[in-house]
Symmetry: C2
Subunit: 285 residues, 2 copies
């Protein structure tokens, strides 16, 4: 049984079409801005689903209220599915005095939830901050399937070495070659990117990352690939946290951009819902 928060509403139709069951939820806001939630149903186990995109703080508090309501109603085991996990990039202390923000959120959600499922979290190491079982799901097959027909003899590239695992997962699913970009400082003000150990001339390329925000890196990479003689250039990511105008800028620079629907955007063409359905199947009620 799914309990869907504000950040999961965009996934409901597809979940329903795949046979998911739901516990109805009422979510509203009082005139003073406080959230109000109410669940209509009872049971022992539930899967709470909500991505925590903007306004992320409201969605996080809502998850606490839903957790409290479910516990109050007697639910004993709660799975939490947060396809896009807010604060996941604040995963280390870069300057003294900073928090590890993702830790604070994970610990907080751990007060109410037994298990946590996320998609392609920025730093999977951070899942250890969740007190219960925490699983990082991969959208690699979903992304691979979407681009399968478009990438005969293609290459999968990660925008940096840290994202190589993502490129590898998509490439292995499709049986394609993969590599990554490296950055080299060529002058005090200029950094050059280049793809490592791979010939892109005459080939189609898919660049995959976890999050796209401004798209600056993607646009730079695409421009370089064109100079190197690449044919069609595709861009994909798990989470489309697009800043103002980013989709338009990227769209102009590449053949196509497609991200998953962990966050609803105009280019969220790849669905993670089948992966979420598997969680219901494995959740013995």
């Amino acid at each position: 049984m799914f309990v869907v928060g504000s950040g999961g509403v965009h996934l409901v139709d597809e979940l329903r079409s795949l046979g998911a069951n739901f516990i109805d939820v009422e979510i509203k806001r009082f005139p003073d801005g406080e959230k109000y939630v109410r669940i209509a149903g009872s049971g022992e186990r539930a899967i709470v689903l909500s991505s925590t995109f903007y306004p992320q703080d409201e969605k996080i508090i809502e998850l606490l209220l839903l957790g409290d309501a479910l516990r109050e109603r007697g639910f004993e085991y709660l799975r939490l599915v947060v396809p896009y996990f807010a604060y996941s990039r604040q995963d280390r202390v870069t300057k003294e005095g900073e928090p590890i923000s993702v830790r604070a959120i994970m610990r907080t959600l751990g007060l109410y939830y037994d298990e946590l499922y996320v998609f392609d979290i920025h730093n999977p190491e951070t899942l250890r901050y969740f007190p219960g079982k925490a699983v990082n799901l991969s959208p690699a097959k979903a992304i691979g399937n979407y681009f399968k027909e478009k990438l005969e003899n293609g290459v999968i590239l990660a925008p940096d070495h840290g994202a190589l695992g993502r490129a590898k997962a998509v490439a292995e699913f499709l049986g394609l070659e993969y590599s990554h970009f490296e950055k080299r400082r060529v002058s005090p003000t200029e950094v050059k990117m280049y793809p490592v150990d791979v010939n892109v001339r005459g080939r189609d390329v898919l660049i995959v990352d976890d999050i796209i925000s401004t798209g600056g890196t993607m646009i730079k990479a695409a421009s370089l690939l064109k100079k190197l003689g690449a044919e069609k250039i595709y861009v994909s990511a798990t989470h489309g946290v697009f800043s103002e105008g980013a989709i338009e800028r990227i769209s102009k620079a590449v053949e196509e951009i497609a991200v998953t629907n962990t966050i609803p955007t105009p280019v969220s063409k790849i669905s993670i819902v089948p992966e979420i359905m598997k969680l219901e199947a494995s959740h013995i009620v």
Copy 2:
């Protein structure tokens, strides 16, 4: 040493004038909406101060991030002062399936803070949800001092029986009489209010409550008091959670309205800062 969050900034000048010490805090927002905090300082003990008025969810998450940053920096004992505590009116399950929202927030803050101080919380019983020491501070003396000169031979009234303790505290501090209103349904659509066992004719009256939102009750009470021959009518509350236009409507109906500065409003003329300073004095560093 005080660490001040977004909901405490309006109290800083007065705290400083009374000799408070601060640990500098940087608080900003990333382009995607995530909050970023950073504390500049170290030590063993700190008092984190932030009221959680609108946008309350952001202020709550900020308190978690501040707590995480302070613990990361080695602080061992953290006092939390939340003059206005959001979600405090969601203190019981009225309809099946609701959370006890205030419990969820208290448990969450308890992950990072050892002690909690609030002012005149809607239901003091809810403080038991905070895992550490939790104290409800009274603004009765501050409110009493503000109205002292205006209330010779005055009466203090609570708008309902539940608020009687507040009226009593202010009245005893000022050596005045106190009572409360009761409501009686006179027809299926009409409820009449009347003050219990007190003669207001020719006397000045102060009505005190914990929270004023729309001001509807206060305006109704003032109108009735006028009919009963009261002289000047004053209205006060700890927390001014005013809805649109409420201050104007109440101001027209009474001699004066004054609330405390747990929430900054145009009529937050009564300061709770001296009470907060006592917490620093008692906080052995």
